[in-house]
Symmetry: C2
Subunit: 288 residues, 2 copies
């Protein structure tokens, strides 16, 4: 199954046989004080610079989130989407829980890129979100990330997460969104609070891939919350998650890109390791 994302000038295809697509996690005012401050001051330069930096580091898709205290999302989400669409070629993943801001952003995207197709992060199995977001995704022809949680919380079993994923896919299809435009996130939780958390997510990923056939995203770094040496835990989990079906993870691109290229080389998604070698030569640097 192919999920096709488009900006003004660039198309990115997410599909099991292809190299892993990297969604850059960093343009988030919720996670970065400096970006939140710039937005409160009405300054989009810093966000555009961050976008350029991430594209240079190898991001295939850019996450955009302007949710922060003192920032009016309805005003600033569309303006940020416009600014970044003009600053870089990369397709966008629009991250908000505010339906009005989402519609304004999708409308701004459609205006600048009539043939474009952003990703919405995210809908989940809660009725409130399904009703609020799916019709917007259908109207503006956007793809959506479907997170496997619903009104009862995050299911503790792979079966439970598969059931929520199936519900989201079915509701999306009923709303006129093709199955290929739903990208499922089986949700990473920390193994420090529940030692089974990693396995449950990995098994859910494998089952969603095998039984629903849709593409899969994941923010792997939650798995290591509360533990030391998070990089090692995140990499171990990322390798296993990609083996099981994740093909467009949300990551810190600068830090994780070469490792994910190594995973692709192992999984035969990189003929003779050529992308890996070429990338190594271009950067001309050694690592672990």
């Amino acid at each position: 199954m192919k999920t096709v994302l488009k900006s003004i000038r660039k198309t990115v295809v997410i599909s099991p046989g292809r190299p892993t697509v990297l969604i850059g996690e960093k343009i988030s005012a919720a996670a970065r004080d400096d970006l939140a401050r710039a937005l409160r001051e009405g300054d989009l330069t810093l966000l555009c610079k961050e976008a350029e930096k991430q594209v240079a580091a190898g991001a295939d898709v850019l996450e955009v989130n302007v949710g922060a205290p003192g920032v009016d999302e309805v005003e600033w989400l569309p303006r940020t989407v416009e600014a970044i669409l003009q600053a870089v070629d990369t397709p966008l993943s629009i991250d908000t829980a505010d339906f009005e801001a989402l519609e304004a952003a999708l409308s701004a995207h459609k205006e600048l890129a009539p043939e474009g197709k952003p990703l919405i992060n995210s809908v989940n199995g809660e009725d409130h979100y399904l009703k609020g977001i799916l019709p917007l995704a259908a109207e503006y022809e956007a793809a959506v990330i479907g997170m496997t949680l619903d009104d009862d919380g995050i299911p503790e079993t792979p079966d439970g997460r598969l059931a929520v994923a199936r519900k989201i896919v079915e509701r999306a299809q009923a709303t006129g969104i093709p199955r290929a435009d739903v990208v499922v996130d089986c949700m990473a939780l920390s193994v420090s609070t529940d030692p089974q958390a990693g396995q449950v997510t990995l098994e859910a990923i494998r089952r969603v891939r095998d039984e629903l056939g849709v593409n899969l995203t994941l923010g792997p770094s939650n798995v290591s919350f509360g533990l030391p040496e998070r990089g090692k835990l995140d990499w171990a989990f990322t390798a296993m998650a990609i083996q099981n079906g994740v093909n467009c993870p949300i990551v810190n691109v600068g830090q994780d890109r070469r490792f994910i290229m190594a995973i692709d080389a192992i999984l035969g998604k990189d003929e003779q390791g050529l992308r890996f070698i070429e990338d190594y030569r271009e950067e001309g640097r050694e690592g672990t």
Copy 2:
């Protein structure tokens, strides 16, 4: 299924539910000129020091190989086994293709550790090895690594490797070796010569685990032969291989141990990440 290895004073249990057992790859005269030179000069001090170093780095089992030009294995393999058994507590994996040297080493092991149980690396599906090694393993009550290659070479498909593994397990049982004492190695080959090599091995591992139920070893680092930044490729492959069933890989312990503990934490083999945290505190160092 449990494979139990024993030295004079220590027992190591290899089993799917337990933390990954690390077989230290480094005491090999075939791979290290300094060790080969010391052996030619009849000096075992360096090998014993290397053994101590690896045990300090966290090796659960030590590989011993004295095969090098100018070294008489029949004389030096048993002497090395004796010296290392006395120097450290760790069980041994005896690596040789010389049946006479193997018998001498097993006999020396039995003498020093009458209740001991070493691992033999390795038998494979070739008749020559099955006939030469299995009776020795049975006589001296040793466990054996079974490599998935036979007189026709290394099978190119997971099916083919599973078939060789099954043949080895059956021949071992017919020779009086319990199924639990056969540890299968599905063989890592470089993805630089065959882009499918990683996937074939990973799938073979999964099938051997599911269909034969035996424990599995692997020397993951062959996967990256001929490529740059081998560490990233090796780690990616190691995480996926352990997820699929490898539970006693042959590794560079100093370099790979913390990463493998991270894999175990993700796979719920380390309650609340406690081993991982404790190890981190003891060593008191950061890294990716």
